[in-house]
């Protein structure tokens, strides 16, 4: 990660050290360049948009040469520390990536389950609909049978009434009392009549 600049020049300002052809703008001005320049021209602090609050003491230290330069061991330790931090971050990233992958897999599984349930609901709905249709057809058939039976009952009722009426009509014409009821012809009689 790049180090944050301690000295940031204002937009539109370019800093060029006297006698040098390199120039700096915005936040690409190193501390030593800024402090060397301010050591010569402290009034030009107005050229900077951002600067440390202790810039004067820093400039003084730079001017007197008392700015400490880190030793090889210090720099090495710093590099090792930053490397360890970076590796730690890598480990974190790996763990988080695995977590994300697991969550993705869980999500997929949940989606599959939801799809299966949706299919079951559709099948159950179809079954219910089918049962409904069959029940309706059966009811219709029963109604038809009922109507036919009703019609048969009416017909039989009418026939019964008719028969009763006919029987009642015959009963008013009674046969004479001395007349013997006619016997049913026997076999001899019928054969004699037949000769």
């Amino acid at each position: 990660m790049p180090k944050k600049a301690n000295y940031v020049l204002k937009p539109g300002i370019v800093l060029q050290e006297p006698g040098k052809n390199k120039f700096y703008a915005l936040n690409n001005c190193p501390d030593e360049v800024a402090e060397r320049y301010l050591a010569k021209f402290p009034q030009h602090i107005s050229m900077f948009e951002v600067y440390p609050t202790d810039w004067e003491s820093r400039v003084k230290a730079r001017k007197e040469g008392t700015v400490s330069v880190p030793t090889y061991d210090e720099l090495k330790a710093e590099v090792e520390k930053l490397t360890a931090e970076a590796e730690g971050k890598d480990g974190e990233i790996t763990a988080l990536t695995e977590q994300v992958n697991t969550m993705k897999a869980d999500l997929e599984a949940a989606k599959d389950e939801a799809d299966a349930l949706r299919k079951e609901v559709v099948a159950a709905t179809d079954t219910v609909e089918k049962g409904k249709d069959e029940a309706q057809a059966e009811v219709k058939a029963l109604h038809k049978e009922n109507d036919e039976l009703k019609a048969e009952v009416e017909r039989l009722t009418a026939a019964l009434e008719k028969a009763l009426k006919a029987k009642a009509g015959k009963g008013t014409k009674e046969a004479p009392k001395d007349e013997a009821p006619k016997e049913a012809p026997t076999a001899e009689t019928s054969t004699e009549e037949g000769k």
Binding site: L9, I13, V14
Partner: protein, 199 residues
């Protein structure tokens, strides 16, 4: 300040350089900023050369103006404007906005129509000392719009906007921006495209 009579006497031979002849035209990229955003206290100007130009704090920034083609900013000119006490100059900057739509209308055209601006353009002719490279228009009285048109079948604008800004009655015929070198000047101008801090 005591009263003075300005000395308008010729101070240089009139002619061109054979090794470095005058050439017409400008480059495709310029810079435009609001006149009121300039930090006038920090402006550093010697004769007709500005060496330091910054903007006020509060998120102020300049904007890039890009006009493609082989003759960008055609119509840009400086012309004498005679006056009673001192002749001045009308400076005209012509640019084309090859874009349109609601954002363009709101963010570019409407502000250009009503604001006041400073424009810095890059001349192809740099001059023997390179100080002619970046020319500033509008630094003295500000550029304001005198014409803005959008013609749907215009071949000059491809249906975009033609904008003419003018600085009227500017005392100087030319003001230039130069900070130690062309590269440093260009870097400084590019840095103006970054907004200032909100303080």
């Amino acid at each position: 300040m005591p009263a003075e009579l300005c000395d308008f006497k010729l101070a240089q031979d009139i002619g061109g350089s054979c090794a470095n002849p005058q050439v017409p035209g400008m480059k495709n990229t310029g810079y435009i900023m609001n006149f009121d955003d300039i930090d006038w206290d920090a402006l550093t100007k010697t004769d007709n050369v500005v060496s330091a130009l910054t903007l006020l704090t509060g998120g102020k920034k300049a904007y890039k103006v890009v006009v493609p083609g082989s003759t960008p900013f055609t119509g840009t000119q400086t012309a004498l404007a005679t006056s009673t006490y001192r002749n001045k100059f009308n400076k005209t900057v012509s640019l084309v906005v090859l874009n349109s739509g609601p954002d363009v209308a709101k963010n570019i055209i409407d502000p250009l129509a009503n604001g006041r601006y400073v424009v810095i353009l890059e001349n192809k002719f740099q001059g023997t000392d390179k100080k002619n490279t970046f020319e500033i228009f509008g630094l003295e009285t500000g550029l304001t719009a005198t014409e803005i048109t959008n013609e749907k079948y215009s071949e000059e604008t491809d249906g975009g906007w033609a904008v003419t800004l003018q600085e009227a009655n500017a005392p100087s015929s030319g003001i230039f921006y130069y900070n130690t070198s062309i590269a440093a000047s260009r870097t400084a101008l590019e840095s103006l495209l970054t907004a200032t801090a909100n303080q």
